[in-house]
C-alpha cells in the first residue's frame, strides 16, 4: 500500500517528531503561513485512478483518444499560435472567450496544450456549479478535469497546486449569446478571476478562440423550454433540439484557430497584497478583455473562409 508515502508520513500523531520540525520552530515564522500549508498538501497516491479533484486519467484518456482527437484533428483542424506563452511551470490562469451551446472551446484548448506544448500539463477547466447538480454531468465532468468555478477552488489550484486553470469570465453570458453577436465579448464578470490570480500570484494568459462561434451557431434561446427542462438554457441551433441530445455534440466543421497572448505577470501588478484593490482588479480585467477583443477582430479579419481558415 502506497510505499512511497511511508517516508514522510508517520503512523502516529506525536510519537515520532521529525528533526526538521523540532528546529523548524525558529525558521517557520519567516515564511508566509500559506506557504507552509502548501507543503502539507496530500501526497499523490500512485495506485489511485482518480486524484482529489475526482479527475480520472483513464476516463480522460478515453475521451482524448477518441472524440476529442477526432474533433481536434479532423473536424476543427485546430491551428495554434503562441503556445510558448503558456508557462511551463507555476500556476497560470488562461482566460478565454466562450461560445457555443455546449462549448467545444475548452476541450480544444486542453487538447492544444497536450499536443503542442513542449511540457504538456493537465488543464483544469472551471465550469458552472449547475453541472454538479445535474445527474450524469455530475459524474462525468470532474473526471475529465472540470472543477466548479469557486474562488476557493481556483486559489487552491493556482497557488497550492500550481496548476493550469482555464476560465471563461463571460460565463453563461458567453454561451447564451446569439449568432448575430458573435465575437463580441460580454461583460467579464466582476473581475473575480483577476482577483483570484493576483491572490495566487499566478500568471494570466489571455486566450482567443476563433471558430467556436460558427461550429455551433445559436439562433434563439427559448426561455419557457429552459424553465420546463431545468437546463441552464435551451438554445436553437442547426442540430438542436432536432437531433435530440446528440444535437448538442453535432458541431459544424468550422476551422479553429487558437491564439495564446503574452502572459500578464500579477506579481508585477502588486501580487497578493494588491488583490484587495478593486479599482486595479477592474482595470486589469478590462485590459485583458480589450486585448482578447482586439486580437479576435484581427484573427476574424485575416480569416478568408469560416470552414477552411
Amino acid at each position: 500500500m502506497a510505499r512511497s508515502m511511508a517516508s514522510h508520513r508517520t503512523s502516529l500523531a506525536h510519537t515520532e517528531e521529525s528533526p526538521e520540525r523540532e528546529d523548524g520552530g525558529d525558521r517557520l515564522p519567516e515564511r508566509r503561513p500559506a506557504e507552509r500549508l502548501r507543503d502539507l498538501l496530500p501526497a499523490i497516491e500512485p495506485d489511485r485512478q482518480l486524484n482529489d479533484w475526482g479527475r480520472s486519467e483513464r476516463v480522460e484518456g478515453v475521451f482524448d483518444r477518441t472524440i476529442v482527437e477526432f474533433f481536434y484533428r479532423y473536424w476543427f483542424r485546430a491551428e495554434i499560435e503562441g503556445i510558448e506563452n503558456v508557462p511551463a511551470e507555476g500556476g497560470a490562469l488562461l482566460v478565454s472567450n466562450h461560445s457555443g451551446a455546449l462549448p467545444p472551446d475548452a476541450a480544444v484548448i486542453a487538447k492544444a496544450i497536450r499536443e503542442e506544448h513542449p511540457r504538456p500539463r493537465p488543464l483544469y477547466i472551471t465550469v458552472e456549479h449547475f453541472f454538479k447538480s445535474y445527474p450524469g454531468f455530475s459524474m462525468l465532468i470532474p473526471k475529465i478535469g472540470c472543477v466548479a468555478a469557486h474562488p476557493a477552488n481556483v486559489q487552491r489550484l493556482l497557488y497550492d497546486e500550481e496548476q493550469l486553470v482555464l476560465v471563461f469570465p463571460e460565463g453563461r453570458k458567453g454561451t447564451e449569446k446569439l449568432y448575430k453577436d458573435r465575437y463580441r465579448l460580454r461583460r467579464f464578470g466582476r473581475g473575480g478571476f483577476v482577483e483570484a490570480a493576483m491572490r495566487a500570484e499566478a500568471k494570466l494568459v489571455p486566450t482567443c478562440v476563433v471558430g467556436a462561434e460558427e461550429a455551433m451557431p445559436v439562433f434563439a434561446q427559448l426561455d419557457f423550454m429552459k424553465k420546463l427542462t431545468g437546463l441552464l438554457y435551451f438554445p436553437i441551433t442547426p442540430t438542436f433540439p432536432w437531433l435530440g441530445p446528440f444535437g448538442m455534440l453535432a458541431y459544424l466543421p468550422a476551422k479553429f484557430k487558437i491564439r495564446f497572448l503574452e502572459p500578464i505577470d500579477t506579481v508585477e501588478l502588486g501580487g497578493a497584497e494588491a488583490a484587495q484593490d478593486k479599482a486595479l482588479v477592474q482595470t486589469v480585467a478590462q485590459e485583458i478583455r480589450s486585448r482578447i477583443q482586439e486580437s479576435l477582430h484581427e484573427m476574424v479579419g485575416q480569416r478568408k473562409s469560416v470552414w477552411f481558415g
Binding site: S11, L12, A13, H14, R48, S133, G136, S138, H150, A152
Partner: protein
Amino acid sequence: MTEVLPVAPRDPRMRRVLVTGLSTYWGGRLAQALEGFEQVEAIVGVDSRAPRRELERTEYVKVSNQHGLIQRIVRAAEIDTVIDTRLVVNSLAMPPRVAHENNVIGTMNILAACTGSDSPVRKVIFKSSSLYYGSESDDPAFFTEGMRRPHPPRTALERDMVEAEAALEDFASKNPDVTVTNLRFANVLGPDVETGFTRMLSLPLVPMVLGFDPRLQFVHEDDIVHALEHATFHEIPGTFNVAADGVLSLSEAISLVGKVPAPVLPPWGTGLLAGPLRRLGFRIPDEMINLLRFGRGIDNRLFKSSGFRYGYTSREAMIKFGEYLRVQPVMKGVEQGYTYEREVEEFLRWSPHVRRERAGHEGVDADREPLGI
C-alpha cells in the same frame, strides 16, 4: 477563531481529564488511550450509559448532561481538561428530539459546567463533525476551517451541529483564558464504529444515486483517537478539520472494499424514497442523502500544520475497512463483548486486596510509547 500557528507547543503539565460520552466509541477509546499516559493524573468519564470498553483506572460516574452535577464533579476532582465526545452524528442512532437534547442542550450544559471565575478548567476539546459544512451543489471542492456553510442547514442534525458550535464559540469568546479546540471530523471508517457509511458499505450491493459519483473523504477510527490525544497534549486553540489525506469518489470507495455499486436511487426525489427504503433495510440517514449526490471534500492541512500526522489516508482506511468486512463473517460471535459491572469495577479499583503495581496497561495502545516529556 482559527488562525495558522507554528507547530503547536507541547504542554508538559500533569493533567486531570474529564471525558464526556464515555459510553460512545470515541469516549471509550480515548479514555483507554489516555490511561497509558503518565502525565494524565486522573481520568473521569461521565455518561448516562455504562462504558462499553474495559477501563483500567478511569472513574465512571453515571450522570446525564445536568450541568449542576457535572460542575460539582469538575470542581471536586479539579478537572483541568474537558474532552467532549458526546456528539451524535448519525440521525438514525436516536430520535431527532433526543439527538437535539444531547447535541445542543448537552453541549450547553457541559460548557456551563466549565464556566465560572473559580473553575479549574483550562482546556476544552470539542468533537464536532464535518456535517457542519453540509453538502450542496455550489460547495467549494475543499472546505477550510474559515468557511461557513453557504446554505442554511437542511436536516435537524445539521442544525444541531451549527447550534452546538455557536455555543462553543460563545464559550471561547467569553473565556479567553481557556484553550478551546474544536475538531471537525470527516466520516469515520473502522471496524468498531457504526455510521451510515459503514452500514451502507457492508451491504452486498451498495446503493448509489443514479448519475452521481460524489467525492467523499474519510478518517480512520484510530486517527480520531490520536487527534483527540494530540489536542490534549498540545496547545492548539481554534477550529480544525480532521480528515485523512485523499478524497475518494464513491465508486472508487466501493471498488476498494470489493463491493458492487448499484445506482438504484433516483436522482430526483431521493429524500422521498429514503423513507420506504429505510423500512426495507436500506437505512440511509437524512443527512447522507445530499452527501450521496454532491459529496464533500475537506482541507486537512491546518491540523497537520499543528504537528499532527495521520496514520491512514482515506484510501488506506477504506482498504482496511474492506479487509475487516471480509473477515467479519468468520469472526462473528467469537469475540466476547465487554459489559460493565459496577461491583467488579469498584472492587478492582478500591479493594485493599488488589495488587496495583502492575507493569504496563492493557489498553488498545499499550504497546505505544507514552509521550516522553
